[in-house]
Amino acid sequence: MTVVVSWLEGVARAARFAGRVLAEAVRPPFEGRETLRHLYELGVRSVPLIAAAGFAVGVVLSMHTRSSMARFGAEALIPAGLAIVLIRETGPLVSGLLLSGRIGAGIGAELGAMKVTEQIDALEAVAVDSFRYLVVTRVVACVIALPLLTTLMNFTGLLGGWVAEALITGMPLGTYFRQAFQPIQFTDLVPATLKTTVFGFIIATVASYLGVHTTRGTEGVGLASTRSVVTSSILLIATNVLLVRLIQFVYP
């Protein structure tokens, strides 16, 4: 019973933390310079990972799509099929999970280390609101970065799909992309991409919460980093189910 109460108290504290992030994110003054720095650190530095992963996912999806479509003699639909799968679900979800690993672990470890070495106290001591400076800036940067990185993954995924297809059929790049985008509608692209803003919020908020509440020295830092990845990944997958259902409800 005590464990359940303690767990519920923890959830309530985390929910209050998330609510405070939302409230402070829209209240000036904004830490623009620090947000841009995180956008570079968390976003731009994730480009190689996302681009490479997207390309590989595209190649693999294309191979699977080809073997499935070939059974029905529908090879002509391979680019369109791959684009729909990639843009609607695979791109956003894989981006989210990859970034919960890279960004979530990074934020959890960095803020955890700052907590145990009193750097967060030092920020407060020089009259800086550490919550706005450390947490809100990272969350805002992640919310902005996720849709952009997902778009990149979609693009490199399609590129990977074309390479796989071109090696077999010699299909030109222009033809491939024309066929891929032919069936894509606003409702395929925009809601699926924008839902990753929620993923960004979850990843950065969970990692920040665990980071700034780190205890037990360097052991605690490692724990905060690991828990950030695990918790944000689980929350991300669960939230994805709800968001997909919501998107299908709004755009039936």
Binding site: A113, M114, T117, E118, D121, A127
Partner: protein, 250 residues
């Protein structure tokens, strides 16, 4: 801010508990403006916790903490930020921001709270680093400095806004006697030059004798002895006398 007659820092019946243990137990202390007070005591007797209450990083469970007459525990975040700009704090392990250079650490408070142009901020930060014997170290990362250098850089950062009240948490712990003596001299020079109020937590009795106008001895969260070094030398409390005789401590 006019502080005529008002102590720079005053703790009134402050109690702070962690679980069942009272780390500060009905503690009262008044530090007049311009005085240097050294807080002594065994490890875990609430000295650092007391400093964190003064700068508003912790709130008391009971009692009040007044800085220049204002209760920091009851302040809005905006007012607390205003009061903190009149204070500087040197942390036990310096707490330099490790993602920016040493110079940027020192410049950080100026960048946040002054309207000085970037070039002037840099010049001031370089001058502060020179004052603590770190000239030419502006572009080094904190990880590249020794423990003593980090502490001196932390002191430079604490002095950046020319604080009226400087809090120092064990400024000489872990330093060699020469570096420790340099830090002591810097603190005394600061007080003499600016008239700042100093509250220094230390285990180092020789440092306390050099820096402190008054020494305060904490035990079990309470002040058990208070006065000049000479008065504590003659204390009728054996623990205090033993502590004062441990000249090599630190």
């Amino acid at each position: 801010m006019a502080t005529d007659g008002i102590p720079a820092v005053e703790l009134r019946h402050v109690t702070k508990r962690f679980g069942d243990r009272a780390v500060l137990d009905d503690l009262s202390l008044a530090v007049p403006a311009g005085r240097a007070v050294c807080v002594l005591g065994r490890s875990g007797t609430g000295k650092s916790v007391m400093l964190k209450h003064i700068i508003g990083l912790m709130r008391p469970d009971a009692g009040s903490v007044l800085v220049e007459g204002e209760d920091v525990a009851q302040m809005s975040p905006r007012d607390l930020a205003r009061v903190r700009q009149r204070m500087g704090m040197l942390f036990q392990h310096a707490a330099l921001f490790d993602s920016i250079t040493v110079g940027e650490n020192v410049a950080f408070p100026l960048r946040r709270h002054s309207s000085l142009p970037a070039r002037e901020i840099r010049e001031r930060a370089e001058a502060l680093l020179a004052d603590v014997g770190l000239a030419g170290e502006y572009d080094k990362m904190p990880a590249d400095l020794s423990g003593g250098m980090r502490k001196r850089a932390g002191l430079a950062r604490a002095l950046a806004l020319e604080p009226a009240i400087l809090l120092a948490d064990e400024p000489s712990t872990g330093l060699d006697p020469v570096t420790s003596g340099e830090i002591d001299r810097l603190l005394v020079a600061l007080r003499d030059r600016t008239g700042a109020t100093l509250i220094v937590v230390t285990h180092n009795i020789p440092s306390a004798r050099v820096i402190g106008d008054e020494l305060v001895f904490l035990d079990e969260g309470r002040i058990v002895a208070q006065g000049t070094a000479g008065m504590l030398d003659e204390s009728d409390i054996p623990l205090v006398r033993r502590f004062m005789q441990a000249e090599g401590a630190g």
